[in-house]
């Protein structure tokens, strides 16, 4: 690749011992409930799946069931609210799903996204790595980054999780209603 003024080869920087953690909290459980069900009264209805139910959910959804504990709330209007967590390549995502009384998805919201191993950001001299900086710009060490760009990370594990929860509704929650 020949280099023109529009092509910048970024210098390699030393890989630091500590990976920067990225953890974003989007919504609390209560806020997600309110976003999906308004002022409707939510009743916690935690459930523990037995081995037969777990097997049935796996078969119906094609997704492994790794935990037996279900975090479930029942809305006064007959809807359901479930909180679940999935693990991807390097990230842990907890999310909430709202279902109406007929098991249709009302909304999906990511509650928290946590990447990497939770270490502190330690990046001595990181200002030197700053590219595209305008003259006169001052960056303070410790300033938070506001986003990350990279190759697209699949959210297949989230969609698998949703499929597993829909099977859980059909096999376990619907008969309770």
């Amino acid at each position: 690749m020949s280099l023109s003024s529009r092509i910048v080869l970024l210098p390699l920087v030393a890989l630091m011992a500590s990976a920067p953690a990225r953890a974003t909290v989007y919504l609390s459980i209560e806020d997600a409930q309110q976003a999906m069900f308004g002022a409707s009264v939510m009743t916690a209805q935690p459930l523990t799946l037995d081995a037969t139910q777990m097997k049935a959910i796996e078969q119906a959804s094609g997704v492994p069931v790794r935990g037996s504990l279900l975090r479930v709330w029942r809305a006064a209007d007959g809807g359901w609210f479930l909180v679940d967590a999935v693990i991807g390549k390097s990230e842990l995502i907890s999310y909430a799903i709202g279902l109406d009384a007929d098991g249709r998805v009302k909304q999906v919201e990511v509650l928290e996204y946590r990447e990497s191993h939770g270490g502190e950001i330690r990046y001595p001299g990181w200002r030197k790595q700053f590219v595209n900086k305008k003259p006169g710009d001052e960056l303070r060490i410790g300033d938070d980054i506001q986003g990350i760009s990279g190759a697209t990370l699949s959210c297949e594990h989230v969609t698998d999780g949703i499929r597993r929860l829909l099977a859980t509704w059909a096999l376990v929650l619907k008969p309770l209603a």
Binding site: R6, Y26, Y113, S116, I145, S149, G150, A151, T152
Partner: protein
Amino acid sequence: MNQLRRARPWLGTLVEISVAADLDTPALLAAVEAAYAVIAEVHTTMSVHEPGSELSRLNRGAHLGAMPASAGLLTILRAALAFAEDSDGAFDPVVGGRLTALGLLPASEVTAAPQANWRDVLIDGDQLRFLQPLRLDFGGIAKGHAVDCAIDALRAAGIAEAQVNAGGDLRVFGPAAQRIALRDPRAPSRWSQIVELQDQALASSAGYYTAGASPSALVDPRSGQPYAGSDSVSVIAPTCLAADALTKVALFAAPARLEALLEQYEAQLLVQRGAN
């Protein structure tokens, strides 16, 4: 300024929307909902994975005779065909047949001709026709387009400052610059560089996540060869659609074509070497 940040699964990845404005929370929420609604619209129209999408319908029938296409689909198709022409096929939405042959897309009823390319797609008014069986796939451009549509929706709703990030393809606007980290291709859970953006878009492509079911498979449309390099490319451009498409041009195009396109779209390419 009141702020809000949400993330939802769309377009095969997580789409994060951050907004700030002198508006109350219900108004911020309404703006964010409007932005997610246009992203959902792009997803359901343009998804090659959904058999019921408009794109899948066209892929099944447009080689048999002209079919009407929606204005939204034609907009993104015209943009994609222009990139294909200008990059001499280094970016090509007709790559779907290649991806299917490699097992990167699920099989479809119509078997696409492997040599089909953008020249086999004809637009006449609102009608679309394929000269041979082929499979359009907007995986290399739809996320960028959806981000642009969402940004437009947020501006229209009176948002002062925002970022829409579709799994690494992002665009920002507002009075202050925003600091974006680039993943390190040698260790993608870490970041290695900071880029400052103001009213700009940034998209990246690299091979480090393509081993699994990536929503953005990187395959040279002309040879059908997957990208095997270890470099990561990021493009800064005025729109996310251009940034998204230009990352594929950067991986596969001849240098002269690439430089001309970067010039044409007022874009800048940042390359991070994946190996010392």
